[in-house]
Amino acid sequence: MLQGTLDLLILRTLIFGAQHGQGIARAIQQTSDEELLVEHGALYPALQRLEERRWISAKWGTSTNNRKARFYTLTSAGRKQLVKETSKWNRLAAAIGRVLESEEG
């Protein structure tokens, strides 16, 4: 997985509300139709990094099946970052797409 894409995916997932690590992992896997297989362990250092940058905040809470879990929420700084990263990603994807097309042609 590309450097930085995991951060983007996490932020994107959290836009729908607070979620814990396992939930985020699940969501990424499901929304990408199992295309992006994230090693769950890689998620946590990334979450930690985002938290230190204050793009997300965390709070211990209780999960739907009554387990203690750490819930992450998007902060307003995180929201801005998501917008920025998304457009950057789109531009990058488009650029890569153009390069690949021209090579085909």
Binding site: G21, E39, H40, G41, P45, Q48, E52, R67, K68
Partner: protein, 891 residues
Amino acid sequence: MFRRTRKASDFGAEIEAHLAMEADRLKEQGLSDEDARTRARVAFGNVTRVQERFYEASRWPGWDHFWQDVRYAARMLRKSPGFTTVAVLTIALGIGATTAIFSLVDATLLHPLPYPHPEELVRIEDALPGAGVTDAGISIPEFKDLQRSGIFQYVVLEIFGSANLTGASQPSRMQYEGVSPPYFAMLGVKPELGQTFDPQDQTPGFTLDVVISDGLWKRAFGSDPHIVGRSLRADDDLYRVIGVMPPGFRDPGRTVGERNTEQWAALGFSDDPAQAPNRSLRLPLETVGRLKPGLTVAAAQSQLDALVASLREQFPDDYPADSKWTVRLVPLKENVVGNVRQSLILLLGAVALVLVIGCVNVANLLLARASARSREMAVRQALGAARQRLVRQLLTESLLLSLLGGVAGLVILFCMKGFLLRLIPESLPRLNDLSINWAVMLLALAASIAAGVIFGLAPARQAGRLNLANTLRVEGRGSKGSTEQTRTRRVLVVTEFALSLVLMVAAGLLLRSFWDLYKAPLGFNPQHVMSVQLWLPSPNDPHTDIYGTAAQEAVFARELLRRSRLLPGVQEAALGAEPSIPLHHDGNRSALIVEGRQTQSKQTPLVERSQVTPEYFHLLEIPVLRGRLFNDGDDENAPLVAVINRAMAETYWRGEDPLGKRLRLGAGRAGVGQRASKTWITIVGVIADARTESLANASVPQIYLSLYQETPKELAIFLRGDLNASAMPEEVRAMVQSVDPELPVYGAQTLNDAVTSSLEQRRFSMEIVGMFALTALLLAGMGIYGVISYIVSERTHEIGIRVALGAQSRNILGMVVREGLELAFAGAAVGLVGALIVSQLMAGLLYGVRPTDPATFAGVALLLIAVALLACYIPARRAIRVDPLVALRYE
């Protein structure tokens, strides 16, 4: 950087929660409990790795490694206390001594004048090279010419003297200075209390306003805050105190006495007590000026030369061509640094050498340790330690070492500050109070760290290049790296020896100079002699002067002598003017006019002169060579007679008989020498030269007058006998004050002390350089010991084989000692060249010994080689005891 808001356990709990939830989800999909948990773990990946990443990310990893290195380094240093102690002490010595000496140099050489814009201050010296006079004094019209020249902001005349301060609990003597009114404005120093003189004041004589020093204010006036406006009685004249100077203020004078001035009086120098202005009447005054801003000394000098040339044309009678009148500008800081620059630079050089030798020694120790630890390094590398990490750790070790040394040096310096300050002779000129220079200290610390890095790097680099297989196989001995190391270490030891030799030659030459001077025949006998000073007031109004005429003072002098002989233990007593005290540095020079030669030139040389009673020469055991000494008949009513020393006879009457020749002396200090300047004086005797003016110079021309004929105001009582040095000053004081209770008695000393203290400055340089040289010798000895020990341990195997093959212990001993001697000889050879250069540079500091003195050079080289031999002998003994069986089985 160290923000760590989250604990690792919290992170661990989150991971646990994740695994539990994932397992829950998988179980919902129908997996068994065990399968679900396994699958969850597999999906998660390496839990430990994730935890490590959390750990690393949440801190600065370098910091952890750094602390780990520091702790490890500290442990290593503790493990070898011998090495650590030696290295730390070496660095401490280097840094402490460098800081101490540099602080001294900073206060004296670098910032000698504590006044604003010190570079503008100059001393103005008149010279008459044609008449052989260097410090010719100045006439008042010349002074006015200087003021009008446009070269100076201010020009100031100064006359130094002392006066009796009366009215306090005990009459005391204080150093005063008569100055032109702009004196304080010129120096740019403001008073602490009150005001100073008006620079525009044009009063021709004394203004009767005085400014006093902080010291006098505290001593005589109990720090009276209302001192301004109070009166002070000096030499029975009433002055008004108008200001008090701040505590650190000192006059930038040339002698200790001048710098200790306690009272300044404004003086116009163009009327009483000075004589009427006259272009050819040179007054023995100091002239100091402040150049116009932006003017360099060189530019000012060329303007001044033009002025002098035009004056010589304008007044040909006053400035005959053959006298070659010139005026020279000397930066005022020369007053302070002129005499000591060479000594201080020598000290600085010596201490720098010690620092370098110290660093070399530490480098040597570090290298030795590095080779001893090459196996450890190899093992650690083999176990996967990164080279970079090893290098960093070794660097940390050497940095820690130099930092410890630096701190230890500063602590020692701080504790010994008082002791070190006391070592510095009082005669060492300085206007600043000495303090430890913190900037220098930081610099020295930085230097030690730099040394640590540089010398830490070499072994660290070698550790990085180790050939693991070889090193591990031969157990750290005989590895390839060690050949290079040994070569480096040999070079270091040779360097140490060379530098030590330079230092020791310097110390040896200083020691010989000191010894020669100490042993030089004085020409007078200082044993069992004391001198005590007193000062007769010379009030500005001659009518109030009870010692005004020679007859009045002669009566007093005879009474003083009579009572002096009655003091306990006194066998002989004599009186003299203050300049007659042997090795008293405030001389009194008068212009000399020889009968029949005055037509040559109107400008005259100056000679040292003083007045003594007839007993003086016998008391000091100075023999008469020709003619006669004074006798009681040479009194105020008899014609003036003089006794000269042999040097004076040689200088002015070479090849002639000086007896019966007549001369006249110019006025010395104001109010003194009136009679001798108007009447011819006949020479009646020639005495042998004695080192009464300077220990280093036995032949200073001197002339003595009879004290009864030419009465001085500043008197010295000389006593010879079985004297109690501690009780005598009080006895003399009581005796003098029984004659006149208003007279201050001071400056009691034994002549032996006077001789000793005039050697003080030389003793100081000699002791310090000697101390450094010994340190250097010790360090060099340690260096060679280390290298030879290392070579022996490295070659244990070889020595074992040799012994097994029948080598005698004599052969082994020779082999090892030869190794050491090679190094010592190489070092000595390089050092001798260096020492020859250095000794030429310090020629000015030597007395009675040539800079190339073969005895010193040979002696020092031999001493150094002896130390090398001794240092090699110990490891050589170890080499002999090598048991071939053990040595061969070792591998």
